[in-house]
């Protein structure tokens, strides 16, 4: 009886979106039996210990528990309401046949073979045939051109400069003795001991993307979402956030393989598309709620925003400073930088600019391509230097 109830309960949790594997069922029954059924809160925490493995699921579990273990009739109704929706096959996700066809057509064409070429060249190669497209501003592209640009972005690969980790692999031109290998060798051969060496393994640092999706950015932000998806798919340890008036973590959704599915989900999730911007507020939100969770291993942070702020740059200064101090490198991508006459006039830009390592444009494919290069070769002060005197003067 208890087992059946717990199975029902687990189904309810699953139906409401929690990841409860069948392997947990046996544990849940054992746990419930161990604490007994005399006290409701004991049962609550016993099931909680087994079925919940994420702090964010706690509220969901709480509601489900209150619902389930009170009135079985009520639950039956609730499940009856929910189940048809669940058992029906999910509506086929939007997959335009055109995109498929184009993908196939491309394969028939003369695209460069996807071997394992050098990363740096890879980014350049994937753009080679679209010279015009590369220079064109996203804002001025036709629908057709936008589609082409999206495909180009899908092929984009970002080489981030690798950093030393504290793990080792064997290597010849290295300065640390690998005792384990040395010993094994000398056991096999005897005689004089020949030293083996090891060197630190290298790996790319985590990447954090913060993208502005407010009204002033609208044409770019959708394109940049494609860009973010392309990067997320390529690398592990990429964390993506979008912000307008509030901050949303979209990392999990961008891991979806299909780009349309991924962006469709993000669009559903995010409530503040094309609205105003509160940069200071959102940066603070990031610093307080997320920075400890995603910034621990010295990431490269890319901030994508035009710096136009509804709150008149309220609170941006200290928050961007903290952000800068807690990451390895802060790169600011600003689509407005395409104008030659761009000057740090707005208060938001003036607040952010002193605290970024690099300041780059992001209005066309070329500029995103340049970013690939920049991640491989850090150029501290890039784009910032020429505005420095103006900042000081003002």
């Amino acid at each position: 009886m208890l087992a059946a109830n717990i199975a029902h309960f687990a189904r309810l949790l699953r139906a409401s979106g929690m990841a409860v594997g069948p392997d947990r069922m046996l544990d849940a029954v054992t746990a419930a039996e161990a604490v007994g059924l005399r006290r409701r809160d004991d049962l609550y925490w016993a099931l909680h210990a087994v079925l919940v493995s994420r702090h964010s699921d706690q509220a969901l579990f709480d509601q489900a528990f209150q619902l389930f273990w009170r009135d079985p009739e009520l639950l039956k109704k609730a499940l009856a309401l929910m189940l048809p929706a669940i058992s029906a096959p999910a509506p086929p996700l939007e997959k335009t046949p055109r995109r498929l066809a184009e993908a196939l057509g491309l394969q028939a064409g003369d695209t460069p073979p996807a071997g394992a070429p050098d990363m740096e060249i890879d980014a350049a190669l994937s753009f080679s045939d679209q010279e015009l497209l590369r220079k064109k501003d996203f804002e001025q592209m036709s629908l057709e051109e936008l589609n082409q640009a999206r495909q180009a972005i899908q092929k984009l690969r970002l080489p981030i400069q690798n950093i030393r980790t504290r793990r080792f692999c064997s290597g010849s031109n290295a300065d640390r003795v690998d005792m384990h290998a040395t010993l094994r060798q000398s056991l096999r051969q005897g005689g004089a001991i020949r030293l083996h060496y090891k060197r630190p393994r290298r790996r790319h640092p985590p990447l954090v993307l913060l993208c502005d999706i407010s009204g002033s950015m609208s044409r770019y932000s959708r394109m940049l979402l494609h860009f973010m998806h392309a990067i997320t798919r390529e690398q592990d340890r990429v964390y993506s956030f979008v912000f307008g008036t509030q901050l949303t973590n979209i990392s999990r959704w961008l891991r979806e393989r299909d780009v349309d599915d991924a962006i469709g989900r993000v669009a559903q999730l995010v409530a503040d598309w094309d609205g105003g911007t509160r940069i200071g507020h959102c940066l603070r939100e990031f610093n307080i709620r997320w920075s400890r969770r995603v910034m621990a291993q010295g990431p490269v942070v890319i901030l994508i925003s035009d710096g136009l702020d509804r709150d008149a740059a309220l609170g941006i200064g200290p928050e961007i400073e903290r952000l800068h101090k807690s990451c390895r490198r802060l790169i600011w991508l600003n689509p407005l930088l395409r104008y030659d006459a761009f000057a740090p006039k707005s208060m938001g830009v003036r607040a952010i600019l002193p605290h970024v390592d690099e300041f780059r444009a992001s209005h066309n494919l070329d500029s995103l391509l340049a970013l690939a290069d920049a991640l491989n070769r850090p150029q501290t002060g890039f784009g910032v230097e020429k505005f420095r005197s103006e900042l000081r003067a003002g």
């Binding site: 544990d27 016993a46 210990a49 706690q58 793990r167 010993l183 056991l187 307080i288 969770r293």
Partner: protein, 311 residues
């Protein structure tokens, strides 16, 4: 609590017993935590504790080991933690000497030398391997502290250890624990731990305690503090946690603060003392700057009026 030594050393058989066990060690736990701990002991499962810094995640392992009379093995995680410092390492220097001696004596049997060199005699055991070994006092408590600081490869390595309580040493074979150790993992959530690891554990999120429990904790952990001071410290800290701070003070900070104020011979809070000792409570300059001065005075006034109306 008049517990005989024998009673204290046996594993609790109910949630209430778990609560008293922790209390005897000076750890004031909420019932949910005791429930999970009881289950972990009963089902022989690792316990995964998450929560903000300073809510007593590490402390629980220490108290448990002490109250049960078990050995505590602590593994502090850091990036690049590898099997050599977590599980075992060969004593290379001794092995080298052994090889040299063998050669000097003209021993020809390389195979025998190989098995001899890679035997337990030349092994330096680290916490995880130690935890799998039998102990007279009973299986030890293995504390894997701040697992979020270790990198993913180590996390993956732990999977084998935590699901089967065994370790494979290529040169020797598989070492298996006859009686699985009590394993407690803690995380400050500086990154998400992989689901595969969490699935092998019982999960619990430790929250900041409510005012009543925090007061109890202060009585147990800072017994020298004046009753009024403790009450005010708790009220002040609870109020601070409601503010929008970069890092809210944990229980560890309240205990430190109460002890610090007692050392200064204070029996109640006053604005000047708060300003002078705020560094015990808050660890970020921005936070200190926000609270110091007028804000601290305001909070103090607020908690005074609250306690007056309550009284």
């Amino acid at each position: 609590m008049a517990y005989s030594a024998r009673m204290t050393l046996s594993v609790p058989t109910s949630i209430d017993e778990t609560l008293t066990l922790l209390q005897s060690g000076g750890y004031i736990a909420a019932r949910p935590l005791a429930t999970v701990l009881f289950l972990a002991l009963k089902l022989g499962r690792p316990l995964f504790l998450e929560g903000e810094a300073g809510v007593g995640k590490t402390e629980i392992a220490k108290v448990l080991a002490q109250a049960l009379g078990r050995r505590l093995l602590r593994l502090q995680c850091y990036e690049g933690l590898d099997t050599a410092s977590a599980v075992y390492e060969w004593n290379y220097a001794a092995q080298m000497i052994e090889i040299r001696l063998a050669e000097a004596e003209g021993i020809q049997d390389r195979h025998a030398l190989g098995t001899d060199i890679f035997s337990e005699r030349f092994m330096i055991k680290r916490p995880i391997l130690q935890a799998l070994e039998p102990d007279i006092a009973g299986p030890p408590v293995l504390l894997i502290d701040e697992i979020d600081r270790a990198d993913e490869p180590f996390e993956a390595y732990l999977l084998e250890v935590l699901s089967d309580f065994q370790v494979t040493v290529p040169e020797i074979g598989t070492v298996r624990a006859a009686h699985p150790p009590i394993v407690i993992l803690t995380s400050n959530r500086t990154r998400e731990i992989h689901d595969a690891l969490k699935r092998r554990c019982l999960y619990h999120w430790i929250d900041y305690p409510d005012a009543a429990r925090e007061l109890e904790i202060l009585h147990a952990r800072a017994p020298g503090a004046h009753a009024r001071l403790s009450a005010e410290v708790v009220a002040f800290v609870q109020e601070l946690r409601k503010r929008d701070l970069f890092k809210s003070p944990g229980v560890a900070e309240s205990i430190d603060w109460a002890s610090a104020l007692t050392a200064l011979d204070k029996i109640a809070l006053d604005p000047q003392t708060i300003n002078d000792t705020l560094g015990v409570l808050l660890k970020y300059q921005d936070d200190i700057a926000r609270i110091q001065g007028g804000e601290a005075g305001k909070i103090l006034e607020q908690i005074r009026t609250q306690s007056d109306t309550a009284a």
